[in-house]
């Protein structure tokens, strides 16, 4: 089912773009912290959609479960624990215009240097239709112990983070 050049995939891409960027604008511009958190989840959901489009369904599931589920909820908790801050009188810091200028310049630079030269060249390339199945991903992780070192270091990292969070949060006795 196509409408000229307008394929379902292009439609989905547009939809998720609106979710992702709209959510991002919401996070950066919102006056209310709780709303920002909700916008963040919308944006993260858009990213999960892109993962599906890019045939990474398992990552999309992880994105929803870990990012939106765990991290989003944690952020919401932190907002609730600091709740007198939810309505912000001063939205931006004093140098916001400077920061905005710097970021916009960087963005234009990025656009000019990355996009313009690559548009024709890489746009012409078809994306290979491979689908990395969940099984393939699992094999990449564990077959031949390909990623044994980062996996182990990541587990150390999680331990350190857990211990660290406890050390910070506990009352001195």
């Amino acid at each position: 089912m196509t409408f000229g050049d307008f394929t379902p995939e292009a439609f989905a891409f547009g939809f998720f773009t609106i979710l992702t960027l709209g959510g991002a604008f919401g996070v950066v511009g919102s006056r209310n912290l709780v709303r920002s958190a909700v916008w963040l989840m919308v944006s993260l959901f858009g990213i999960a959609g892109f993962f599906v489009l890019l045939s990474a369904p398992f990552l999309a599931a992880v994105q929803v479960l870990v990012y939106i589920g765990a991290i989003g909820i944690l952020i919401t908790f932190a907002i609730m624990l600091t709740r007198s801050m939810t309505n912000l009188k001063e939205r931006f810091n004093k140098q916001w215009w400077l920061a905005a200028l710097a970021a916009l310049t960087a963005f234009l630079l990025l656009m000019v240097t990355v996009i313009v030269p690559t548009w024709g060249e890489m746009g012409a390339e078809e994306i290979p239709p491979t689908v990395a199945s969940t099984a393939q991903l699992g094999e990449a992780f564990f077959s031949g112990w390909g990623y044994v070192l980062p996996l182990e270091v990541a587990s150390l990292l999680l331990t350190a983070a857990m211990i660290g969070a406890i050390v910070i949060a506990r009352e001195d006795d």
Partner: protein
């Protein structure tokens, strides 16, 4: 077919938006949320490139990024909540801390 460059542009836009959030907002939690946006922009780029190279390296990298994000959120939010308890405020002026 949506081309590669569309994904790269999108991730660049998202990254810059996140960076703007970090530099412009005063509230620590908001700054942190903007960092999450930046990390997600990087994840999007990684998955897109992974598709382009028909490999899984990029996707595996994304797993580790999500792990790290989880670890950061645990420590970061603990810090934010503690400082709120003592200061009753979580405003920061990241660029405004030079005392010469």
């Amino acid at each position: 077919m949506v081309g590669m460059e569309a994904y790269v542009i999108l991730s660049a836009v998202l990254f810059v938006l996140g960076a703007m959030g970090v530099m412009m907002r005063r509230n620590a939690i908001l700054v942190f949320m903007s960092v999450e946006l930046m990390l997600n922009a990087a994840n999007l780029a990684l998955v897109a490139f992974s598709r382009q190279w028909s490999g899984v390296d990029g996707q595996v990298f994304v797993f580790f990024v999500i792990t790290v994000a989880a670890a950061e959120v645990a420590v970061g939010l603990a810090l934010i909540v503690t400082i709120f308890r003592t200061k009753q405020s979580i405003n920061i002026d990241v660029l405004h801390q030079m005392e010469g």
